[in-house]
């Protein structure tokens, strides 16, 4: 099966590239810094958040535990991880074009659709690796250094306390949706990569689009109200919905659909363009 052999090829290339370890390394350092910072002065951080409740509520047990640390880490990093993902995926086609290997790749007995599909699959694998590594570090380090306990989450509706026995599946779901959101970024950057012959352009363009859409999504201007629900950036933080009570099934389903439709759209655009593209470099 050639498509799968080429997925293996793409994976070999990703693994051999030094920049692939930049994302893994950056996440490792950042998680370690956050966890050690919370260990050193976490209680003052928690007191700052819970200050408004302390007059009406009494907290028993360890509020700053591994589950809360994992949640804080996820919340802090999920904003920055798209850049680390785009750094690799934005280079998958344009990097080959800049290096000159694209013309050799496209004169092999494998269709352009298969080449592009392999890159999408390898890009998704790398994104999954980043998410899994983030999860292992956040939950593993968090539990290792802070122990376990109930999760206390502050969201727009107030304080939600999730019992310890009810947390594991929520993290699995949250990381799955976080993967979906990051894979939308990966798909966007690969699609942009088809249009460029240099590696930097698609990475910068991806981040510019994310920033632009995020600004549109957060600006409290009524003119954007109609498009806001359809922007993928609006649903980048959908993983947080797993830590709400009652559990917002429809909201999550809606986010999943929006993200999947965006991915499909980016796939279709890139497949059409890439199959018609003249390789002149």
């Amino acid at each position: 099966m050639k498509p799968f052999k080429n997925v293996y090829n793409e994976w070999v290339k990703i693994v051999a590239k030094p920049r692939s370890y930049l994302g893994i390394g950056a996440i490792t350092v950042l998680v370690a810094v956050i966890v050690f910072a919370l260990k050193a002065d976490g209680m003052s951080f928690i007191s700052f958040v819970t200050a408004s409740f302390e007059q009406t509520l009494t907290f028993q047990g360890q509020v700053l535990n591994g589950n809360l640390v994992a949640f804080i880490v996820l919340q802090m990093l999920v904003i920055h991880v798209p850049l680390l993902v785009a750094l690799i995926t934005g280079d998958l086609i344009s990097g080959e074009s800049a290096m000159g290997t694209l013309r050799l790749l496209l004169t092999q007995p494998i269709s352009r659709t298969q080449v592009l599909a392999s890159k999408y699959i390898a890009g998704a694998m790398y994104t999954a690796l980043i998410v899994v590594w983030l999860g292992i570090l956040a939950i593993g380090l968090g539990h290792g250094m802070f122990g376990s306990g109930d999760l206390m989450v502050l969201n727009s509706d107030g304080l939600v306390i999730i019992p310890e026995y009810d947390i594991a599946w929520r993290y699995v779901g949250a990381f799955a949706v976080a993967f979906l959101a990051l894979n939308t970024v990966a798909t966007l950057s690969i699609a942009l990569s088809c249009f460029s012959d240099n590696s930097v352009g698609p990475i910068v363009a991806t981040m510019s689009i994310i920033i632009l859409f995020t600004i549109i999504g957060t600006l409290d201007v009524s003119v954007f109200d109609s498009i806001r629900p359809y922007l993928f950036t609006t649903h980048m933080a959908a993983w947080r919905s797993f830590f709400e009570d009652p559990f917002p099934v429809n909201e999550i389903k809606n986010s999943v659909w929006v993200l999947l439709i965006h991915q499909a759209l980016f796939w279709i655009i890139s497949f059409i363009y890439f199959n018609r593209k003249d390789i002149t470099t």
Partner: protein, 305 residues
């Protein structure tokens, strides 16, 4: 004999610029086919069209008696190529690079075959080294190794000696000759090194401004027109006078030690020798050769006119 490659009425435009305006040529099994033209003539565009890298606007490309458009994947499985310069994944070793391209081949390529190919191009000892440490000549040889991976019937080489030092040029030339003689490959060779094409190719096409100027056997094309005659005699100045008076020919080069060189029709050479004898001019050496370079320039100039 059916051509292995048949290209007819190939047209391609990039915006308002017409890169190809009707390129035609045929390549037959066993040919070393020279693909010549000045810079910007459309050679690379035509070659990229043949390999499916560029989509032609009009025209027909048949390879192995199959239309390229509808059998691209199958056809590409039987073609090895180097377009412009062989670029590889610099962060991978030579062997790893070949493994990547080998996995895409129509049939599995065993490690032993891969090592044989690396040995053929003289890179077996360096197979574990990363490509980023390779010289241009070594990359070129690795490029040739890559073209051989799937044991293709047709090899397309676009400027395979560009940027190489004299020894590198000789190495690549010898490799191409071995590909033809030892492995019986059909080779399409584009090069600015006309002397090289003249030495290796048996057939050729010259294209200019996106059109085919002439196509045929190298030997017959070069013999059909004027020759460049090199002559060394006891009285070169007298020979120059004879040439001027009797044949209205201007001497291209005159050196007391190396003799004269001048253009002359082949059938007039015996008359010239006879004139020399009648004028008591001793002849040390006569050599007639149609140089591809002159022929090429003449064809391009005719096309321009």
């Amino acid at each position: 004999m059916n051509p292995i490659v048949s290209v007819s009425k190939l047209h391609k435009s990039f915006g308002a610029f017409q890169a190809l305006k009707g390129v035609n040529f045929n390549v037959y099994p066993g040919d070393v086919f020279g693909f010549l033209g000045p810079n910007g003539a459309g050679k690379s565009t035509a070659m990229r069209c043949m390999l499916g890298l560029i989509h032609a606007d009009q025209g027909d490309i048949q390879i192995f008696n199959q239309p390229l458009q509808s059998n691209k994947t199958n056809i590409l499985g039987k073609i090895g190529n180097i377009i412009e310069k062989p670029d590889f994944y610099k962060y991978l070793s030579a062997e790893r690079n070949l493994e990547i391209f080998g996995r895409m081949a129509q049939h599995p390529i065993h490690t032993r075959t891969l090592h044989e190919i690396l040995d053929f191009v003289g890179l077996l000892e360096r197979r574990k080294d990363k490509v980023k440490g390779f010289s241009h000549g070594m990359r070129q040889r690795l490029g040739i190794a890559q073209t051989l991976l799937a044991d293709p019937d047709l090899i397309v080489l676009d400027e395979p000696t560009t940027g190489l030092d004299p020894q590198g040029i000789i190495d690549v030339r010898e490799l191409i000759i071995r590909l033809k003689e030892e492995k019986g490959k059909t080779i399409i060779l584009s090069s600015h090194q006309l002397q090289e094409v003249e030495m290796i190719a048996n057939r050729m096409v010259i294209i200019s401004k996106g059109k085919t100027v002439i196509e045929g056997e190298v030997a017959s094309l070069l013999n059909a027109q004027d020759c460049i005659v090199k002559m060394h005699t006891t009285n070169n100045d007298h020979v120059r006078q004879i040439l001027h008076v009797s044949y209205s020919t201007t001497t291209l080069h005159c050196d007391p030690n190396q003799g004269l060189s001048f253009p002359l029709q082949k059938e007039k050479i015996p008359h010239l020798i006879q004139s020399c004898v009648e004028n008591n001019i001793g002849i040390y050496e006569v050599e007639s050769k149609k140089q591809l370079e002159n022929y090429f320039i003449q064809m391009i100039q005719n096309e321009t006119v």
